[in-house]
């Protein structure tokens, strides 16, 4: 059953890219999430509206459509706009890796926005008032009081997001990014053993999920080490 006919190496190649895309997209998603949460919670109306539009649109459109839109659509749009502006033919070529990281980051940034918004709201108001009464500036309050706690409140939600994100990287095979799914596809075609290769790929994803869940559990225990339990 698990005879790869000399193509076993494809899984290692793919796994590296999958994990790398996942981690990079995760960083982008956290940045977008913090920005989005700020947009939702700050007092400026335009920022509120922008952040709400962002989460509404991204959560209402399938990932696959967004990926294809960004990879093919936005490139062509930029090309057209730049050509019109500069008057000369401009060719833009985003490589699949960058496109994948940006698209997944933007998509999961919308979900991270909700996670961070909830986490910021979970910080007791009294602590912020106390910080202000000590004369801390808003920035200092953010750095010393809010950010250290936000991570603790956001960790369960971010862990779930990571599990969904790493599975979504499989969609990147559609834009020819050579990640785990794409490499399994190559192996399956060359050996004519599609079931063997896709099944193995699925077990690797399952392995990533199990490792992530274990790490998440450790991280949560570590983040909550100062919290008294009933």
């Amino acid at each position: 059953m698990f005879d790869f006919r000399g193509y076993g190496w494809v899984f290692w190649e793919g796994l590296q890219v999958t994990v790398l895309v996942g981690l990079c997209a995760g960083v982008v998603a956290i940045a977008m999430g913090l920005l989005g949460a700020w947009g939702k919670l700050c007092k400026a109306r335009p920022a509120n509206m922008l952040a709400n539009a962002y989460t509404t649109v991204v959560r209402g459109v399938p990932e696959l459509v967004l990926i294809l839109l960004v990879y093919y659509g936005v490139t062509i749009l930029l090309q057209r706009v730049l050509t019109a502006l500069l008057g000369a033919e401009v060719l833009i070529d985003i490589d699949p890796f960058t496109a994948g990281v940006l698209t997944l980051g933007v998509i999961y940034g919308a979900f991270a926005t909700e996670v961070f918004r909830g986490a910021f709201q979970a910080i007791p108001k009294g602590q912020i008032e106390a910080a202000h009464s000590f004369g801390m500036s808003r920035l200092l309050t953010l750095r010393r009081i809010m950010l250290p706690q936000v991570w603790r409140f956001a960790l369960p939600g971010l862990g779930n997001l990571w599990l969904v994100l790493i599975k979504a990287t499989a969609l990147m095979s559609v834009i020819q990014l050579e990640e785990l799914m794409r490499w399994s596809d190559i192996g399956a075609r060359n050996t004519k053993l599609p079931f063997t290769f896709y099944l193995t790929a699925s077990f690797i994803y399952l392995g990533i999920t199990i490792v992530s869940m274990t790490l998440q559990h450790w991280a949560e225990t570590w983040a909550n080490r100062g919290v008294r339990r009933a």
């Binding site: 696959l64 459509v65 659509g73 936005v74 979900f111 997001l161 499989a170 004519k192 399952l206």
Partner: protein, 254 residues
């Protein structure tokens, strides 16, 4: 109609305008696949949730493994495993007469989506059944209800209400996930868009248009579930017209 044709052509939107019937048939296929997989998945999920809660490990552990596998792996892999993977066993499948089904992308799509959503839904139902307050179960037992009646009258209606918010998210996720069936050649909304783009090269406009249709349908589903939830929670509302309407939310599935 001529002036309309000219209007859309001047905007560069004539590939969309001329292909509206195709987009409609694509949207209908998307809705059909969603409806079929959601209903089959729900029918499968209830027995699975009960098996998952069973004290018998022979029943509980296989179901636990099934749920863990389908929740822990990408839907795309599951789809490929069924559609392309079955080709590896073509001879055997032809002998038992299953090849007829498994060579059809439509059948494979429904099968993969059903198995996938059944796993997620079973987990939602399990959580809801476990969340039924024990006092209510105890009271029903004290009234002399048999186990099936207790289940039918007390546990299921309560669990259904508790599961509804999470279940509406699951339905929305499945609806969006149906876009993957275009990868195995089905002409759903995404599939139609890809074909029209390959002919017209209006990449950006077509994807925006299709995205808007998905967006509208997603929030339609959210709105319907919100209404259902409002009806089912009638006994918890203070007085008519006073209940504050929470915004219909779409969360991430896990």
């Amino acid at each position: 109609m001529d002036s309309l044709d000219l209007f859309f052509e001047s905007l560069g939107l004539e590939p969309i305008w001329n292909n509206l019937p195709r987009f409609l048939s694509g949207a209908l296929l998307t809705i059909e696949i969603t409806a079929l997989s959601v209903s089959l998945g729900l029918a499968l999920a209830l027995p699975l949730a009960l098996a998952r809660l069973s004290v018998n490990p022979l029943l509980r552990l296989p179901v636990y493994g099934y749920i863990f596998y389908f929740r822990g792996t990408p839907l795309l892999v599951q789809l490929f495993l069924i559609y392309y993977g079955s080709g590896q066993f073509r001879d055997v499948l032809e002998d038992v007469g299953l090849w007829r089904f498994l060579r059809e992308p439509y059948f494979c799509a429904i099968l993969a989506l059903t198995l996938n959503t059944a796993a997620y839904t079973a987990e939602i139902l399990r959580g809801a059944i476990q969340a039924v307050p024990f006092g209510e179960v105890e009271a029903a037992r004290a009234c002399g209800m048999s186990r099936p009646m207790l289940f039918r009258r007390i546990i299921l209606p309560k669990a259904a209400r508790l599961a509804l918010p999470a279940y509406s998210n699951e339905v929305i996720f499945l609806f969006q996930a149906t876009s993957l069936v275009s990868i195995i050649t089905l002409m759903d909304l995404t599939g139609v868009a890809r074909v029209i783009i390959s002919r017209s090269f209006r990449t950006f406009e077509v994807w925006i248009f299709v995205g808007l249709i998905y967006l509208a349908l997603t929030y339609l589903i959210a709105w319907v579930f919100h209404k259902v939830e409002y009806r089912m929670m009638g006994h918890l509302r203070a007085s008519p017209g006073q209940a504050a309407a929470a915004e219909p939310a779409v969360a991430v599935r896990n």
